[in-house]
Structure formats: structure tokens, C-alpha cells
Amino acid sequence: MKAQFRSMETIVIIIVITILFIMGYAIYSNINTAQLERKNVLFEESRQARLNNVILSLDEFKCSILDIEDISCIDKFKAEAFFEIQNQTIYEEILGNSVIQVQITIPIQENITVYNNSPTNFTRENSLFTPVNVYDPATDKMSFAILKTTFYE
């Protein structure tokens, strides 16, 4: 009887320890998955921000007037002309599968599509909005605009 009780005790302890291990592993897996997902989001965000900075620093869009080097400024004429370029394949390497739009909101509303390379099949799309100025060389005025960059994967 005593021996039976001993073996029962051992079995219960083994079961409890096994359950504890399984629970620990499940919690660890959940935390790990959540962290990986968060890391992935952060990586995506930094990739987008980097690409956004590349766009703003490209001479093809950047304002060419003096003393505004530090401003996120897009030349309206350059942006419009860029879209007219038929052979955009050379920019695919830099800009990838994305759509770049400039939405002027103040003083008058106007939309300019700068680049459009949206794939037909994609699993995810993500947009980034950046406040910028749009310079109109014809009027010598700066408008307030939103640079909307949509990335596709």
C-alpha cells in the first residue's frame, strides 16, 4: 500500500512538472511571436521612412532654389514632369512597388501623382504620410502638401 502511494506520488510530480514545462513553453512562444511581429512592423516602418527620405532627396523632385536645403520641398514642375517620363524602369530599383502622390492642401487643393508602380497582386499595402512644401516656380510660392507614399508587398 505504501509502495503504491509512493509510485502514485512520483507520477503526480512528473505530470505536474510536465504541465509546468508545457505552460512555460507556450508562454515563451506567445511572447516570442508577439516580439517578432513587433520587430517586423518596426523594420517595415524604418524601411518606409528610409525610402521616403530617398524620395525627398532625389534631385528629380527636390526644389532647386537656394537657401532651402533643409526643407522637405518638392518642385511642382519637376514632380509633374517626372510622371511624364515614359521609361520609369530605371527608378524601379530605387522606388520599388510603390505609388507616390503629392496632395497639396493649402492654399488650393491639388493632387499630383509622381510615380505609379502598383503591382496587380500584392499581399500588403501600407501608406506613409509626410508633411512637405511644394514649390511652384511659376508663382514663386510654397504650398503645404502631404507626400503620400504607398508601399506594396
Binding site: I31, K39, L42, D70, P131, V132, N133, S143
Partner: protein
């Protein structure tokens, strides 16, 4: 010491070992915890203010409206309206913000105030018409809930 006592001690040691492993696990995980970087918010706040003060409105510059409001208490409502219009980009991110021009009535708050945790602050000092006085524009971005 009898055999039963030895088994008890081994059991106790095993429990302590498990507790130590658990503790180490917890410490290593909490150290690896990623905090949302505020760099993006700082960049957003900075570029927001820069874009705002460089904007030309239909009848003058936005910066002149602020000067007018700060120095002469004129056009403050118009300044607030334009500011609100430009700051609406932050709503696209669901970003709580607090925009104010010190010394004026221009103040726009969207779920953000001094009691909330701030993730980024951008300030810009602009000289008023006389050149000796300043107006300070402050844009604070609060942490999203």
C-alpha cells in the same frame, strides 16, 4: 540522513532550479522588450512645423499670420483655422497632438496635454515685426493610447 530526507532535498533543489530558470527567462525577455522608437514622431513633428512656417497662403505667409497674432492680437482665429487644416495630417496617423503659439490664443489640442506622455516635441522661434521679440511655436506629440 535517511533516503526520504535526501529525496526531499533533491525535490527542493529542483524547485529552486526551476524558479531560477523562470526568473532568468523573465529578465532576459524584459531586457529584449522593444520600445517603440520616437525617431519617427520626432521627424514628423519637426517636418510638420517646418512645412507649416514655410507655407504661402493666398494672401500672405502663414508665418506672418502668427506674427500678426502674437504681436498685435490680430487674425488669431484665421491662424488657428489654417493651423488646424495643416495639422489634420496627424489625424491620418491617429496621432494625438498639442499645438500652441506661446503668448497667443492659438492652441489646438487633440487628446494631448501636459498630463500625457510626450513622444516628441518640436519648437520654432520666430522673430516678430520689431525684431527684438519672439513668438514660440510648440508642437507636442503624445503617445498613442
Amino acid at each position: 540522513m535517511n533516503k526520504h530526507g535526501q529525496t526531499e532535498i533533491i525535490g527542493l533543489a529542483f524547485v529552486i532550479m526551476l524558479a531560477v530558470i523562470g526568473l532568468l527567462f523573465y529578465v532576459s525577455l524584459s531586457n529584449n522588450e522593444i520600445r517603440t522608437p520616437d525617431i519617427r514622431e520626432e521627424q514628423l513633428a519637426g517636418s510638420m512645423i517646418t512645412a507649416m512656417i514655410n507655407t504661402d497662403l493666398q494672401d500672405g505667409k502663414y508665418i506672418d499670420l502668427i506674427r500678426d497674432c502674437a504681436a498685435r492680437s490680430r487674425n488669431c482665429d484665421m491662424t488657428r483655422d489654417y493651423s488646424e487644416q495643416m495639422l489634420s495630417i496627424l489625424d491620418l496617423y491617429g496621432q494625438p497632438y498639442w499645438y500652441r503659439v506661446e503668448g497667443t490664443t492659438v492652441e489646438i489640442q487633440k487628446e494631448c496635454d501636459a498630463s500625457k506622455e510626450t513622444v516628441a516635441v518640436a519648437t520654432q522661434q520666430i522673430t516678430l515685426f520689431g525684431g527684438s521679440e519672439y513668438a514660440t511655436i510648440i508642437l507636442s506629440l503624445c503617445r498613442k493610447l
